[in-house]
Symmetry: C2
Subunit: 545 residues, 2 copies
């Protein structure tokens, strides 16, 4: 029986992970994530893997395995599960976070808690749960054992020997899986461009010690709301230096509550104060934890930086620690926030000038160690762009792998392994599925219109035709938006061009409004290209009286 | 007599440098640059410093000093000089590059060549030209000596002891200027976040040796078209490894021609071949130098990456070296190009995985050395965002400077020094001036419209009113662009809302079309916010029959 591995998201990109594994007509989904759109998708809220192919396999799907609780691995569940109500497997924290996200759209999901080290059976597939370290607690890799062989998903990982929660990667289990034999490894390769071995999450405390010792006023720390380790380090530091902690931002409040409930955060009960109490404490007795590490315009920190947050006004003496890295695409928002905070008088410390952040992804030597432990026959890096995937395959070649063992997958690729031999089959439909407020599946043409108008502007042409004669009533009205005429003569010239083309049309042609609209569009497109070097979106409106 | 220093561009930002120095009613402009717009300015080609204040000082301006030939220091000349035809001073290569840029819009500029080491007089100001090293040859700093004291502009610089052209920074002249006394230093601070000392431009050759030795097929190198040093290293490497060089991209061809003419590039005459001859040589005998290091969509490299460049199709075995860094904002375009080249089979080597690029800006120890050499009384970092400026001032504090000696300027700031005491006066108008094909000074409202439409879409409402009675003819037409209705009932509901509001208006109100348009806009804005959670740009069109 063949095994098929089909990534629908996360292959050739960083974000929206979704992988399918099929064996003997039984399918498991590994991760179910979203991406956040960049400037090339104006107005779009979320990007999901196109679920079309997935839904055609509806009857085969036995369940969804989640490696960890980050949005790019779980964020599509609220959109997928209502259409595909299958069991969801994950570790306690992962499922606790997922439960909150599902409350609105799919409150009665079948969530099944699994523990690292555990093995369970889904259909003919034996699933092994392996603890790894990452920038969120309770992260795991999965080994999927089938009679044809095992597929291992590393999930997002790094090898942190001194994790904040003391829960190290299970090296022994990885070694056992490797000894038993791995047919195919799907590895994280996000940080493959970094040589050596990444710093431990615990290293961030060293930077915090120095900064807390230096601070004379309030300290604000922003980080990813899901980085419970980082939040723990901030709590510990506040306790040590006698500062109370206020949390700003709904997402961070929720995550702290969940993590406390499930025992993933430890602190004295009186450490936290309400953000309304900020003025009751002296500045050097306060730590504020806040959302907004990505410069999100509506976040608490962005409002503080814009001097528009009522409960907290920045003043000289305040220190802001940006304990996160800008996700590609967010750089300009993040640095705008930093620059505004500096202009308000804060000292701002960020990753570029002090070690206040470490990455959650494995560097080159860690990636090689995973390969050495698992010694898979076939290799396909995911969770990386082609530049990361290609470099990962170069590392594997240095370790002795041959080209026929290495696969650079794209979304929709079908990697089929039969009798121990892997090859690529005909790809399946894959792509992106755009979601915005109230609309799932925003058509690409709508995005195309938005982008064209944004770059080139738009020209509305209103033409009124007398019904009986087909002749033009009055002058055509031309309304430019997002561009301006170069001189006063141009609108007259453009109107004249419309009149000329309509004059040439026969009465029969004039009664076909689609045709009239098309002629007007073509005329104005040509006019704008020639006289304005511009390609505005043309919107012809024809009315009849 | 007071000295005034007024940055109109480049203070609190990286890009579009333009500084004014005024002494006794005599004004010099130092640099005259542009920026390239990011995604927040869709459709805009260039951003220039707002010249309004500059033009009000028209009668005082005696000349423009250029530190080097990069666009962010010279690019606004074609727009400023026609309105302000003053002498332009610069080194030979800088003016040769400027001459080409001015050919179209201002061919008879008064360009005055100055040499590093030279001193010349403009009005009462004595200008000293000091050689520095940077990523373009013939870069200089300026010391402006006035009876009140000296102002030094470092220009963009690094301290490279082994520059490709052998022309080191003139440390002795800097030392002499420092001994004579510097009142105010305006320093580059772009790279202040990097500790230590930057690598020499010559270091890039080491990486090239390795890569040229490994390459079995064609080598493509892309870099900034103005990086003559880098181009020289590529030429040298090609000669050494027996490869012919073809140049793709008009800008690079032009710059190579100018540099050859003026003796800034050296090579054997038969090294260059025409890009039409590419097929006449075996792959391992070819080096292609190409534009497109920033992923510019129309560049040669972007076309090659899109497999749309007729004369060069990428095949496995080709190596592409990205010998440049993505300018902030260009990252996604650059990585898209890289990913496409990899998908076509090329090996792509870039800064993150091999030392194929070094920066042209000074790191922390270099910035401190400049301070030690010049020992200015006052300090104001420019060519950096507030985060860079603030960090630079921190370095100065570590060196013993006191707060009253340090200034964090913004565009429009007026730093006034009188009797040796510096202070900030009332700022002057400053900002950005947007240029696109055929339009200088694109209004900010046009940009606002474009951005709103891009994010939210647009709703056109066409309402026809009967002239005699003021009553609504037919149904209002609603045309959405860039968004879609959530369901079929919504357009009917929206039309009904328009009808309801018009019904309530008195005949007198209906005859005031501005009023009618405003009512329709308000109604539809409210409707869209409530029912679509969306704020499209509303374009009401009222016609009468």
């Amino acid at each position: 029986m063949a095994i098929e591995l089909i990534p629908l998201g996360g292959a050739g990109e960083i974000g929206k992970n979704l992988n399918l594994v099929r064996y003997n007509g039984q399918m498991l989904i590994v991760d179910c994530g979203i991406s956040f759109p960049g400037e090339d998708l104006p107005g779009v809220d979320l990007v999901m893997p196109d679920p079309t192919y997935l839904y055609t396999c509806r009857d085969e799907v036995l369940g969804i395995l989640l490696t960890h609780g980050h949005e790019d691995h779980v964020g599509a569940l609220p959109y997928i599960l209502p259409n595909l109500p299958v069991p969801v497997y994950g570790t306690p924290l992962t499922l606790a976070l997922v439960e909150g996200k599902l409350r609105e759209r799919h409150p009665h999901a079948d969530l099944r808690v699994v523990q690292p080290g555990e093995t369970f059976q889904v259909g003919e597939i034996e699933v092994e749960v392996i603890r790894v370290t990452h920038s969120i607690p309770d992260s795991v890799a999965y080994a999927l054992h089938t009679p044809e062989g095992a597929i291992v998903f590393t999930g997002d990982f790094k090898f942190d020997h001194t994790p904040v929660d003391g829960q190290r990667t299970d090296f022994h289990q990885l070694a056992r899986v490797g000894e038993r034999g791995v047919l195919l490894l799907l590895s994280d390769c996000t940080n493959v461009e970094r040589p050596g071995w990444g710093e431990s999450e615990s290293k961030v405390s060293d930077a915090f010690y120095t900064l807390f010792a230096q601070a004379t006023g309030r300290i604000l720390i922003t980080t990813f709301a899901s980085n419970i380790h980082r939040i723990q380090q901030a709590f510990d530091m506040a306790a040590l230096y006698g500062r109370k902690v206020a949390i700003l931002g709904r997402r961070m409040e929720q995550n702290v509550e969940i993590a406390l409930q499930h025992g993933y955060l430890r602190m004295e009960p009186d450490l936290l104060i309400n953000s309304r109490q900020l003025d009751d404490y002296p500045d050097d007795r306060l730590l504020v934890l806040t959302t907004g590490s990505q410069g999100e315009p509506l976040s608490a920190l962005s409002q503080i930086a814009a001097d528009e947050y009522p409960r907290l006004k920045i003043r000289p003496g305040d220190m802001v620690i940006l304990s996160a890295t800008p996700i590609p695409g967010n750089e300009s928002l993040v640095w705008r926030t930093v620059n505004r905070l500096i202009r308000l008088g804060a000292r701002v410390v960020h990753e570029k000038i002090a070690p206040v952040h470490v990455s959650g992804h494995a560097c080159q030597e860690e990636l090689k160690l995973m390969l050495s432990l698992l010694k898979p026959r076939y290799l396909a890096p995911i969770h990386g762009e082609p530049r990361h995937q290609a470099l990962y395959l170069d590392l594997a070649r240095q370790m002795g792998y041959r080209d026929e063992q290495l696969f650079l997958l794209e979304n929709g690729s079908v990697l089929r392994i039969e009798k121990g031999v892997a090859s690529l089959s005909e790809p399946v439909p894959a792509g992106r599925y755009l979601i915005e407020e109230g609309v799932e599946g925003v058509p690409e043409e709508v995005i195309h219109d938005r982008r064209q108008i944004a770059r080139e502007g738009m020209l509305i042409a209103l033409v009124t035709i007398r019904a009986q004669t087909g002749e033009l009533m009055d002058e055509p009205q031309l309304i430019p938006r997002g561009f301006e005429w170069h001189n006063e003569a141009q609108p007259d010239m453009a109107r004249e061009a419309i009149r000329a083309v309509l004059d040439k049309m026969l009465p029969a042609e004039l009664s076909d409004w689609d045709n009239v609209r098309e002629e007007i569009s073509m005329t104005l497109r040509r006019f704008c290209r020639k006289h304005l070097s511009r390609r505005p979106l043309i919107v012809p409106i024809v009315t009849e009286v």
